[in-house]
Symmetry: C2
Subunit: 298 residues, 2 copies
C-alpha cells in the first residue's frame, strides 16, 4: 500500500499504529521519530521492524505517508521541518483530537506541495506509552476523516483505505462538526471526570476522612479517565472553544438538578433519571460499549 511510512511520536497511539502497519504489511519500510530514550527502548521490544530516526532528515524525504502522533502543541514546530524535507505529493495525516485548530494551522503554514488529510481515531486509554500499544486498538472503532474543500479525492481514498486496513470504521466530517460533537462525547466527559476527582480530593481534606478507599460505589469509574495524559488533555481543553459552551450547558442542568432535589420534586426527578437510562441501551446497541454489567469487571 505504501513504500515508506514515517510515524512521528510513538506513544500509545503511535505504537498501536506501528504494530498495526507491521501486522497488516501496509508498508515496506517504517520510520519512527521518537525523542524519548525510554520510549525507544520500549518500542525495540515490540515486533515492528521499524527504523528509528533522530530528526526529520533527508533519509525520510521520499516517504509516502507521515502520521503525526505527538501532542498537538508540537505540530507547528514539526510542520516547519516537514516543509523543508518532504518531497512534493507526500501525504500527511495526524491523530489530534481537536480539528479546527489543526486545519487552521496547516492551511497557514504547510507547504502547498504537500497534502494533509486530518484523521481522528476514536480509540485510546487512560494509560500512555508505547508499551500499552496494541495492533487491534482501532479495530471496529470509528475513525473520523476530516473533509475539506479542494482535497484530492485520490488522497482521501488512500487515507480511508489505510484506516480501514487497520480495522477502523470510517466517518467523514468537517472540522466544525467534529469539534462540536466531540466536545460533548469526549472532551466534556474528561473535564467532568477530572473535576469530580478534584472535588473528591478537596472533600477528603475538608472532611479529614480517607474517603477514596470507599470509591467502589461510583467514584472509581471516573478515576479511570481522570488518569489520562495531562499534555494531551491540556492541548484539547485549550483548543476546542466548544468546551466552554458544553460546561455552561452542564452547569445549567446541574443547577436545575439541585433545585429538583431541594424541592423534592418527585415527578421531575423520576423522569430525569428514567430518561438517562435509555442512553446506556443506545450506546450498547451502537456498539460503543460492551453489554456486560459493570463493564464485565470481576
Amino acid at each position: 500500500m505504501f513504500k515508506k511510512i514515517l510515524i512521528i511520536g510513538c506513544g500509545l497511539i503511535g505504537s498501536s499504529i506501528l504494530q498495526a502497519i507491521h501486522s497488516k504489511k501496509i508498508s515496506k519500510k517504517i520510520f519512527v521519530l521518537e525523542k524519548s530514550k525510554k520510549n525507544i527502548s520500549k518500542i525495540k521490544k515490540i515486533k515492528s521492524n521499524c527504523k528509528f530516526i533522530k530528526n526529520i532528515n533527508n533519509e525520510v524525504s521520499d516517504v509516502d505517508l507521515v502520521i503525526l502522533c505527538t501532542p498537538m502543541s508540537q505540530y507547528e514546530k514539526i510542520i516547519k521541518k516537514l516543509n523543508k524535507i518532504l518531497k512534493s505529493g507526500c501525504l500527511i495525516t495526524d491523530v489530534g483530537s481537536t480539528k479546527q485548530n489543526i486545519i487552521k494551522l496547516k492551511n497557514k503554514i504547510l507547504n502547498k506541495k504537500l497534502n494533509w488529510i486530518s484523521s481522528h481515531p476514536i480509540a485510546g486509554s487512560e494509560v500512555s506509552g508505547p508499551e500499552h500499544g496494541n495492533k487491534n486498538l482501532f479495530s471496529k472503532k470509528w475513525c473520523v476523516i476530516l473533509k475539506e474543500k479542494k482535497q484530492s479525492s485520490k488522497k482521501i481514498n488512500l487515507i480511508i483505505k489505510f484506516w480501514k486496513k487497520i480495522g477502523s470504521k470510517i466517518v467523514l466530517m468537517n472540522s466544525i462538526n467534529h469539534d462540536k460533537i466531540f466536545s460533548i462525547t469526549s472532551h466534556l466527559p474528561h473535564l467532568i471526570a477530572y473535576n469530580l476527582i478534584k472535588t473528591a480530593q478537596d472533600s477528603q481534606k475538608i472532611q479529614r476522612k480517607k474517603l477514596i478507599q470507599y470509591s467502589a460505589g461510583g467514584l472509581r469509574d471516573f478515576s479511570r479517565i481522570a488518569a489520562s495524559n495531562e499534555i494531551m488533555w491540556r492541548d484539547i481543553f485549550f483548543n476546542n472553544d466548544n468546551i466552554i459552551k458544553a460546561i455552561n450547558l452542564f452547569t445549567k442542568n446541574l443547577n436545575s438538578f439541585k433545585k429538583i432535589i431541594q424541592n423534592k420534586n418527585n415527578k421531575k426527578l423520576i423522569s430525569r433519571l428514567s430518561n438517562s437510562k435509555k442512553v446506556r441501551t443506545q450506546i450498547v446497541q451502537l456498539k460503543q460499549d460492551i453489554a456486560k454489567p459493570d463493564f464485565g469487571r470481576e
Copy 2:
C-alpha cells in the same frame, strides 16, 4: 448461624444475599417477601430453597434475622408491619444507601423490643432485578455497619459475622460520617453521571446531530452508572442532605476549571490534571478497581 431469615424485597441485592445465604448455608430456612410476580418467577429459577410469603404474617414471627432490601421509601410501611408481627429480640438490618434518615425513622417508630443494626454493602450494578443477582456480589467489598449508642454488642457481632460469612470486609461508622463519605464517593458521582448524560441528550437536540454514536471517547463510561435504578436513586438524592454541599463544591471547582481554560493558564491546568491522575493509582492499590487499562474491556 440463623434458624430463619426473612428477606424483604428481592431485586439485585436481595437476590444476591439470598444466593449467598443459600450457598454458605447460613440459615436453615429462608423466607422471601417479594410483591412482583415477574421477580418471583425469576427467583424460582435460582437455586435457593426459599419460601415465598405474600405478607408479613405469623409464619415469620419467629425469624432471627430480617434483611430489608426494598427501596428506602418503603421502610416506614414495612416497619409498622414488623412491629406487629416479630417476636422480641429479633434482629433487623437493611441495605439502604443513606443512613441518617433510616436511623432517625427506626428510632422514631420501631418497637423497642426489636433490634435494628443498619448495614450498607458497597456493591451493586447498573442492572436491577433478581436475575442479575450473584452469590459473590459482596466478596471482598466493603460493608459498612452503622454504629450507634446503646447497641447490643452481641447483636453487632452477629451482623458482622453474617456479612463476613458472605465475603464482605467490615468497617464501622456512625451515620453522620457515613452520609458525608458516600455523598462524595457514590452519590455525587451518580448525580454527575446522570447530569452529563442529560447534557449529551440536550446537545444532541440543540446540535441536531446524532452524537451518541460516537460515545466511545468517554461518554460511554458515564452512561453505565446513569442507567442505575431510578427509584433507588431518587430515594438517595432526597435523603442525603450532604449532596447539596457536594454539588456546590463541584460547581465551584468547575467554575475555576472554566476560568483556567479561558485564561489558557498552562501551569494551573497541568497541575490539576497531574494531581487527578494520582487518585487512579490509589484506587487500584486500595483494591477498589481492577488494574487493567480500560476496565479490561475488549
